[in-house]
Amino acid sequence: VRADGVRAGDGLVPRIEAFLREEVLLDPHAELTPETPLARGLIDSMGLLVLIAFVEEEFDIELDPADITLANFATIADIARLVETRGGRDA
C-alpha cells in the first residue's frame, strides 16, 4: 500500500480483465469481478495458457509449470497478487 492509500497491484486488475474479456473468456459477456472464480467454467485450459503467456509478456515475468496452480489463477485478484509477488514490471 502506497502513501496515497492505493494498493500497488490495483492497476494490474483492469489489464488482466481486459485481456480475459478479449481473448480468453468462453462467454465474452460473462460477469467478471476481481473475485470471480475463473476455473468454474469461465475459461478453458487453452484460454488459461494464453492468459499465462499474456501475463508473462505483459509483466515481464517467467512462470514455471509448478506456478500454474489453482491458488495462483483462481481469480483476477489472485493473478495480480502472483504478478506482484514475482516483481512483475509495472506491478
Binding site: 481473448e23 468462453l26 462467454d27 465474452p28 476455473a39 468454474r40 467454467g41 475459461i43 478453458d44 485450459s45 487453452m46 484460454g47 488459461l48 495458457l49 494464453v50 499465462i52 503467456a53 508473462e56 509478456e57 517467467e62 514455471d64 509449470p65 509448478a66 500454474i68 496452480t69 489453482l70 491458488a71 489463477f73
Partner: protein
C-alpha cells in the same frame, strides 16, 4: 536385360521409394522400382512439413507441385472444444524461416496426385518403374538380401536380383514382417475415421490454406481439417480404437459425435457434404527393430510409423529416402556397408524417435504444446521442430532440449493435484 542388371531394387512407389529411386538414378545407378498398385491410388497423409520442400527442391520437383496447384499451407491453427466461434490459436511456419527455406509455406496435398507425380518424376530421372507388380518376398543367400520374388497382376512370377534391396512398401512392412522385426507399440492404439467434404465453411480471412487441428475435450483424441483443391476438405477424427469399437456406433455416427464435441468444428461442418466413402486407418504405431541389414534397407512407413499429429509421415518418407540414398550410393561405389548403413540407421532412427517422443508427450498432456507454442520464450523452438527434418544434429539437439522442458512440465503437473495443466483441472476442460 539380364536379371541382375539393376544396382538396386526398390519395393514400393510412394514418396519414400520414388525419392530414393530419384536420388540413386541421379547418381547414375540403375534402379528398378516395383509398385503393387497402379498410380494414382488413394493414401492418407495430406499435410506436409516445410522441410519436405527442401528435399523436393533438391529434386527439382517444386515446379511440379506448383503446376499441380496444391493448396499452399502457411501454418496451422488449433481450437479448443468450447471456444467461441471464430476463436483459434495459430502459428505461421515462416515466423522463423528454416535455414534452407525456399518458400514461406508448404502444401496440403491429395496424396493420389502427389504420389503419382513423384513416381513419374523418378521415372523421368531414369528409374525403371513397374506398376501392378507385387513383391512376394525378399530373397536371401547366406544371410544377405540378393533379390525379390515379384508377381505381376495375372500371377506371372519372376525372381529379380540386385546388389541392394530397398523396402519402401509402406505400412505393408514387407521385410520387417518377413524377418519378424516388426514391433507394435502397446501405448498407442489410435485410429482414425476420415473422408473428403464440400460445403465446409472456409478458413477465416488471413488463414487461407492453414491446417486446423481441433481438440475434442478427450485426452487422446483430436480432429484435422485440411483445405484441399477445388473447395474440398479432408476432415478426420483420431481417437482410441477401443472408444469406437465399444461405442456400438456406425462410422458416420461416431464421426458426427466427435465433430459435435468442438463448437468451431461443428459450426464449420454444419452444411458439409461428404464426397467420398469413409476411410478408416488403424495400426497407428509400430517400428522395425532394425533399419538395415546385409544388402537391405527400410524406409519411411516400412521402417516405422508414428501417429500423424505433427504431419511427420511424408517428412520421414523423403528424409529417410534421401539419407538412405547417400548410404546405398556409398555401398554401390564400393564403400564399407556396415559403416554406411550404420550412419543411416543412426540419423533416421534418432530422428523418428524424436517425432515419436514428441507425439508421446502430446498424447500424455495436450496442453503442453499450447503452453510452449504461445510462450515467447519457446515459440521458436516449437515452430522449428514442427518444420521437420529431425535427422540432423542441430535439430536433434533443439528437439531434445524442448522435450526435456516439456517433460519437466509434465512431471510438475503430474505431482501436484492443484496444477492447472492437468487434464480436467478446469471445469469444462
Amino acid at each position: 536385360m539380364p536379371e541382375d542388371a539393376f544396382d538396386a531394387i526398390v519395393v514400393g512407389g510412394g514418396p519414400a521409394g520414388a525419392t530414393l529411386g530419384w536420388f540413386l538414378a541421379d547418381r547414375g545407378h540403375r534402379v528398378l522400382l516395383l509398385e503393387r498398385d497402379i498410380h494414382p491410388r488413394d493414401h492418407v497423409g495430406e499435410s506436409l512439413t516445410p522441410s519436405t520442400n527442401v528435399v523436393f527442391d533438391r529434386m527439382g520437383f517444386l515446379p511440379k507441385m506448383e503446376d499441380a496447384g496444391f493448396v499452399h499451407k502457411p501454418g496451422a491453427c488449433w481450437t479448443s472444444p468450447r471456444a467461441p466461434i471464430g476463436r483459434h490459436l495459430s502459428l505461421r511456419l515462416a515466423e522463423f524461416p528454416p535455414p534452407d527455406a525456399v518458400q514461406p509455406y508448404t502444401y496440403n496435398v491429395e496424396r493420389d496426385t502427389l504420389d503419382a507425380l513423384l513416381l513419374r518424376h523418378a521415372h523421368e530421372k531414369g528409374v525403371t518403374v513397374l506398376q501392378g507388380v507385387t513383391v512376394r518376398e525378399v530373397l536371401f543367400e547366406g544371410g544377405r538380401a540378393v533379390g525379390v520374388r515379384a508377381r505381376v497382376l495375372d500371377g506371372w512370377e519372376r525372381v529379380l536380383r540386385a546388389r541392394v534391396i530397398v523396402d519402401a512398401s509402406g505400412r505393408r512392412c514387407l521385410l520387417a514382417n518377413q524377418l519378424r522385426l516388426k514391433r507394435k507399440d502397446p501405448w498407442f492404439n489410435q485410429f482414425s475415421i476420415y473422408s473428403w467434404f464440400r460445403d465446409v465453411e472456409p478458413n477465416p480471412p488471413g488463414f487461407d490454406g492453414f491446417l486446423f487441428l481441433h481438440f475434442l475435450g478427450l485426452e487422446r483424441a483430436w480432429a484435422w481439417q485440411i483445405p484441399l483443391r477445388q473447395r474440398t476438405w479432408s476432415v478426420g477424427v483420431v481417437t482410441e480404437r477401443s472408444d469406437f469399437t465399444s461405442s456400438g456406433r456406425t462410422r458416420e455416427e461416431f464421426f458426427s459425435e466427435l465433430v459435435s464435441r468442438n463448437g468451431n468444428l461443428a459450426h464449420r461442418m454444419r452444411k458439409a457434404r461428404r464426397v467420398r466413402p469413409w476411410r478408416v486407418e488403424g495400426d497407428y504405431s509400430y517400428s522395425a527393430e532394425r533399419a538395415t541389414g546385409p544388402g537391405w534397407v527400410l524406409l519411411g512407413d516400412a521402417l516405422r510409423f508414428v501417429d500423424p499429429i505433427f504431419s511427420s509421415g511424408v517428412d520421414v518418407a523423403v528424409y529417410s529416402a534421401a539419407l538412405a540414398a547417400d548410404s546405398v550410393h556409398e555401398v554401390l561405389a564400393g564403400g564399407d556397408e556396415d559403416a554406411a548403413f550404420g550412419r543411416y540407421e543412426r540419423s533416421v532412427g534418432d530422428g523418428i524417435q524424436l517425432w515419436y517422443e514428441l507425439t508421446d508427450l502430446f498424447y500424455r498432456l495436450q496442453n503442453l504444446f499450447t503452453r510452449f507454442a504461445v510462450s515467447r520464450r519457446y515459440r521458436e523452438d516449437v515452430i522449428r521442430i514442427l518444420q521437420g527434418n529431425l535427422y540432423v544434429p542441430v535439430m536433434q539437439e533443439r528437439a531434445r532440449r524442448m522435450l526435456a522442458v516439456m517433460r519437466q512440465a509434465y512431471e510438475a503437473a503430474s505431482l501436484d493435484p492443484e496444477n492447472l495443466l492437468r487434464p480436467g483441472a478446469l471445469v469444462g476442460g
